[in-house]
């Protein structure tokens, strides 16, 4: 593919790199792995760009990123739960919640984790999540709700969880 096509691809890609990296970090919980996954996903997207039929670029690319992260996780025989540096003013129960939440996310089914993170961590609308994951909107809702049910015990106030309409 030529230089003009590459410029067009990069023009489309650039605005979504940050959200793609955030998604990859949420799924992998490792900065270096997340950036590597985004880079690999960009290369895969570039190779498939000829088959990209227009339409919204972001969900198409985020779908590739999510698949790449799944591949990375499948290849791992370990995982690391990273805790932020403890702050003196922060009460201990909060730290526990953060660690537990990170761990609980890693234990969700891949589609539940992806849908839940896209909705609550990236604030993506349900129809865009559905496009990215190749699901119906109802399928996305159902996965989010199942994921939420597993996470609820970790959250102090259940009523503040906004389940998708």
């Amino acid at each position: 593919m030529g230089g003009a096509k590459k410029a067009e691809f990069e023009e489309l890609l650039r605005p979504h790199l940050a959200v793609a990296a955030r998604l990859a970090f949420g799924l992998l919980q490792d900065r270096t792995e997340a950036e590597d996954a985004v880079q690999e996903a960009a290369l895969k997207a570039w190779r498939r760009f000829e088959t990209f039929r227009g339409g919204p670029f972001r969900p198409w690319f985020l779908g590739i990123v999510a698949n790449q992260c799944r591949t990375v996780r499948r290849g791992r025989w370990w995982h690391v739960i990273r805790l932020a540096q403890p702050e003196a003013a922060r009460p201990a129960p909060d730290l526990l919640t953060r660690a537990d939440l990170s761990r609980a996310l890693l234990e969700l089914r891949p589609r539940q984790r992806e849908a839940l993170l896209m909705h609550f961590y990236l604030d993506l609308p349900l129809d865009e999540i559905a496009t990215a994951l190749g699901l119906t909107t109802a399928g996305v809702k159902s996965r989010i709700n199942r994921g939420l049910r597993r996470l609820k015990p970790l959250l102090a106030s259940e009523e503040e969880i906004h389940e998708p309409a």
């Binding site: 990069e10 900065r31 953060r98 939440l101 106030s157 906004h162």
Partner: protein
């Protein structure tokens, strides 16, 4: 706490994420993408690789058996504990009691062989001319049976990991590494490290040791 806030706190990637270099890295990769052979070619390559590997295993077993049948084979290595122990030898599989062997071909010319003899002597040999001549580049004594592992990364870079065994206990895990194929460093993992179960190195300097307490 709302889930959004909890996720923001639990999954905070820190400052400067993604790094500003990511866009440049991606641009560079798009300019010069790694070769990806067609699917059919990859299948054929995998098939050929499997056949070559099977051939190597069978060949190694045959050679090992031949060496056992000829105890006067001149390749029996005299004991030595000095590093490096580089000696010219015509073939890598020496001695009358081959324990187990790890071989790795890194191209048509380069191949490594690590032989863990039942006598407790470990030999590492290398050919750079497709097996025409072999050089024994390392000889180590006293590594316990079943534990030693070897990884070869290029014609010059390799790692050997093992754990000496005493009558009642194991000692520290030893890591032998070379980056020029001739000079080897010997390092010992801090004790107590437990029993060596698995070693995985990404190059001659960085790696992982999996140990258990018993």
């Amino acid at each position: 706490m709302s889930l959004r806030r909890a996720l923001d706190e639990a999954l905070d990637p820190g400052p400067e994420f993604p790094s500003p270099a990511l866009a440049h890295r991606i641009s560079a990769v798009l300019d010069d993408p790694p070769e990806r052979p067609p699917r059919r070619t990859r299948q054929i390559t995998a098939g050929v690789a499997a056949l070559v590997l099977a051939g190597l295993v069978v060949g190694t077993l045959l050679i090992s058996r031949t060496a056992r049948l000829h105890p006067s084979n001149p390749l029996v290595v005299p004991a030595s504990s000095s590093l490096p122990a580089t000696t010219e030898r015509p073939a890598p599989l020496a001695g009358s009691a081959a324990g187990f062997v790890i071989t790795q071909a890194l191209g048509p010319q380069v191949e490594w062989v690590a032989q863990f003899a039942r006598s407790g002597v470990t030999h590492v040999s290398r050919t750079l001319d497709g097996g025409g001549s072999w050089t024994e580049v390392l000889q180590v004594h006293g590594l316990g049976p079943g534990g030693p592992m070897a990884q070869f990364f290029s014609s010059d870079e390799a790692v050997l990991v093992g754990q000496p065994v005493g009558v009642t206990r194991r000692f520290g895990i030893r890591v032998y590494a070379t980056s020029d194929g001739v000079r080897w460093s010997q390092n010992e993992a801090p004790s107590p490290v437990g029993f060596l179960r698995k070693a995985y190195f990404v190059n001659s300097r960085e790696g992982w040791l999996l140990t258990t307490s018993r």
